[in-house]
Amino acid sequence: MTSSFPKETWNSRIGIILAVSGSAVGLGNFLRFPGLASKHGGGAFMLAYFISFLIIGLSICWAEWAMGRAGGQKGYNSSPGILGAITGRKNLKYLGVLGVLVPVMIYMYYVYIEAWCLGYAVNFMAGNLEFQSGDEASAFFGSFVGISDNGAAFGFGIKQVGFFLVAVFILNFFLIYRGLSRGIELFCKYAMPALIILALVVLVRVMTLGTPDPGNPDLNVSNGLGYMWNPTKVLLEEQTVGGDWQKVREIVGERSLSNAVQEASTSPRMRVREISLPEQLTNFQLWLDAAGQIFFSLSIGFGVIINYASYLKRKDDVVLSGLAATSANEFCEVGLGGLMTVPAAFTFLGIAGATGSTLGLGFNALPMVFSSMPAGQLFGFLFFFLLFLAAVTSSLSMLQPGIAFLEESMEIGRHRSVAVLGFITAIGSGFVVYFSKDLKALDTIDFWVGTFLIFVLATVQIIIFGWVIGIKRGLKMANQGASFPVPKIYGFIMKFITPAFLLTIFALWTTQNVFGYNIITGQQEYSSYWKDLFIEPNGVARFSVLLIIIVASFIAFLATIANKFKFQNEGENKS
């Protein structure tokens, strides 16, 4: 049965803005963004980043908000229902299946990472994380998450992830069980301001670190910020036998520069070279990384915004709300994350400590940094508790689309749908946590769902908005009740530029990261994800993909048989 307005609603406009921004703010804001910006040189990266924000971020965000609210007015809160109802094309509900599959599958491994954050916070508080070397930090991480062997993560001591996993799982479902406004909204109303305050406290600590090691004056906060934000990169390079110049190391700080110049003067095959901002902008990988960061950071293509917006009322301002939620995410990412983690890691560990993967920076380098700084036990706790809050607000948003879908497809209430989803995600999370060796299951699902399918879903959504609904009708939907309209130029951007930009990025990303084709050098080697499935089969990777297929089939089956999804004519349904 459909109604003329959504059954559950948000309690306040600020509530949904905090809930959506809470969904977007996660580990990527504090760990992935600073790593990418420093890798590519702040100036060039930020230029590509802001262009991607305007073309991809705002476009898809407004499209999702508008479609979600329109679907909610037709009585649907799940992605299959919304896409079917607002387009009047019943087969589009199958594309909407992605809007349920993506958040549910991501939740299965995200809750595991959420437990790491809580575990690290508690262990910092207990004084268990005072590392003297990188090997100690790596060993603790490996033992904590059970990286050595399958099944090793199921330990329940304070230095193992098991207890924390159970705790965060219960917390998430307790909040979801309480409902939209009494659970998600209420938690985000307190968690998001608390997260920002904690980040500001840690930021002040980082900015006042000075030069911790007087014997190595180049390692200071100013150079840490320079490593992150300087528009040019300075490299020491060596000429190979073939005549090409290869990077020996990056140089940051006057003393390092002086040493490098001296080193280069001793050999004609060595040189110190400054890479300018325009030269960096010609690097294709920089654009790919900037667009990818905008994409993954804003929670677009997750199926979350479209679900959250479906609980709005007819005249709620989605243009302002969308912009506000997006700007909150950007503030946390650029204004807080960009000043905090990489400068801190550089100040204590140098360039080697400030580079590396997101998890490497977060769970190896930064614990060492906090171990080394005065009052590090307290600041380590605050930082990881901040990450934990960010993770909870994100994981809650991953559950709500599944809850809405089960309520609609099985015609059951919230309590029963929470039980069903709890059962499904417990099995999925159990699978991911059991196969913890080398984090294979987590890594595989993250790649195929958390990266690949997100691209697909976002592309589907913007094409439906611009081409199926039509840009005129779409913008009219978005502007209803808005205190200011979507700028007119976005009609053109959302119809042509965003899909073209997305499809280009997606094609290049797939070429490079799936088929392993290096566009610059022309060399090819299949990615490990492809090899795991088809060339050098890996059982865990194959089972992980099978799990994705099983869950997708289950959702598609429910979408097929559900009475509520039996749409008939365009713009109408049978109910």
């Binding site: 059954k7 559950e8 609603t9 948000w10 309690n11 306040s12 406009r13 600020i14 803005i17 702040g42 100036g43 930020m46 802001f50 409902g179 939209l180 406004s181 009494r182 100013s222 150079n223 910020l225 320079g226 992150m228 934000w229 300087n230 528009p231 040019t232 901002l277 009322k313 007819r314 005249k315 709620d316 301002d317 302002l320 709300s321 912009l323 506000a324 700007s327 909150a328 950007e330 503030f331 990412e333 650029v334 204004g335 960009g338 000043l339 309520e407 059951i412 209430g413 919230r414 309590h415 029963r416 009740g481 205190s483």
Partner: protein, 50 residues
């Protein structure tokens, strides 16, 4: 950090912070539409069936 780094950092951080503050200002001070009053929804489909 060199002068270029300072400029880029200040522009980047300043622009996102200004946008965020402006949005919060607009959200808090713009009155909601008439007839658009939210209510605190306690009732869920489960309770409805009882």
């Amino acid at each position: 950090m060199n002068l270029g780094g300072w400029i880029i950092m200040l522009i980047s951080v300043g622009s996102v912070t200004s946008l965020f503050c402006w949005c919060i200002y607009k959200v808090l001070l713009t009155p909601e539409q008439e007839g658009d009053i939210h209510r605190f929804e306690i009732e869920t489909p489960d309770t409805e069936h009882k």
